[in-house]
């Protein structure tokens, strides 16, 4: 069962799991149609939001590196780059900052987005769905 990152016009996003693309389109269109009609988006009553991006993943994009492991060769190169980048003018490295940066090597989420519609995840999506299925209201 694939996962989908749904990005809304507000820049918020969610990850949802559906049986297939047809089910995904049905659910996403149902929510999008509510937004177009000014209806509540859920049981709490908050307004529904238009959908602007839908990205498909084979697995949950949180699972970029769940074991938090890396090959020794790759890690050696990453460490060298980090140590060089964190060295001050006197060649001194703050070990606490280095520890934070090392932990970030396995972060599944991006730390910088060019636009609010960019994906929140480092994992590359399998595909981005065409949103033509949203056209035409109920």
């Amino acid at each position: 069962m694939p996962f989908y990152e749904i990005t809304y016009e507000t820049g918020r996003s969610s990850v949802a799991r559906y049986a297939d693309e047809a089910e995904a389109q049905s659910a996403i269109k149902a929510h999008h149609d509510r937004a177009v009609q000014g209806l509540p988006g859920g049981p709490v009553g908050a307004p529904a939001e238009r959908v602007v991006k839908v990205r498909e993943f084979d697995k949950h994009p949180n699972d970029l590196n769940p074991d938090q492991t890396m090959s020794a060769d790759v890690l050696s190169k990453e460490l060298a780059t980090l140590v060089k980048g964190l060295s001050d003018d006197n060649g001194v490295v703050d070990i606490s900052r280095l520890a934070v940066e090392v932990r970030a090597l396995s972060h599944p989420m991006v730390t910088h987005k060019e636009t609010s519609f960019d994906s929140n995840f480092v994992m590359k999506p399998k595909q981005e769905l065409s949103l033509t299925f949203l056209e035409g209201g109920k």
């Binding site: 990850v15 949802a16 559906y18 049905s26 859920g42 949950h60 994009p61 972060h107």
Partner: protein
């Protein structure tokens, strides 16, 4: 609204923070799940509760574990005020009896649901780890204001806050 801090979160403080132990470590990112289980006041969730598909005792049961219908866990990054969904800048409350350091995560959105997930009816949200349903460490949880029952096209928004005092 009841809240609870689970044993792994306490052990993070005593062992990982205080003692630099690797026995209990934080995940690469936090995830949030919705549970059918009420936090309660000791008769439902307990400090040593675990995720389980079996609804019994103090087990915590996740919605959508039988039929997802759009349900999946939402990720909160282990960063502060970066580009994606993560934690905000923390604030300090100096009140002697009730004060402490507080932080709020960016709001997460569940769904859109394609129909009723099974099981349905969220009574609480929980900060957890990993994307596998009914699995992973439980860190802390809080009741929803009312039972949330989901249908086609629904989304649900949750904002997690934490006060360490």
């Amino acid at each position: 609204m009841a809240t609870i801090v689970f044993q792994p979160m306490s052990q993070l403080v005593t062992d990982y923070v205080m003692g630099a132990s690797g026995t209990e470590v934080p995940p690469a990112s936090w995830t949030m799940g919705l549970s059918t289980t009420v936090v309660g006041s000791g008769a439902n969730m307990m400090r040593n509760s675990v995720w389980s598909v079996t609804v019994s005792g103090s087990n915590v049961n996740e919605i959508g574990s039988g039929t997802a219908n759009g349900y999946a866990r939402q990720t909160i990054a282990r960063t502060i005020a970066q580009g994606g969904i993560d934690w905000g800048t923390s604030t300090f409350d100096n009140t002697f009896s009730t004060g402490g350091q507080s932080t709020a995560a960016d709001q997460v959105t569940f769904g859109a649901f394609s129909g009723a997930p099974s099981p349905n009816g969220a009574n609480s949200w929980a900060l957890t780890a990993g994307s596998t349903l009914n699995a992973g460490d439980l860190w802390f949880a809080a009741d929803t204001a009312a039972t949330r029952t989901f249908a086609n096209g629904d989304t649900e928004k949750v904002t997690a806050t934490l006060k360490a005092g």
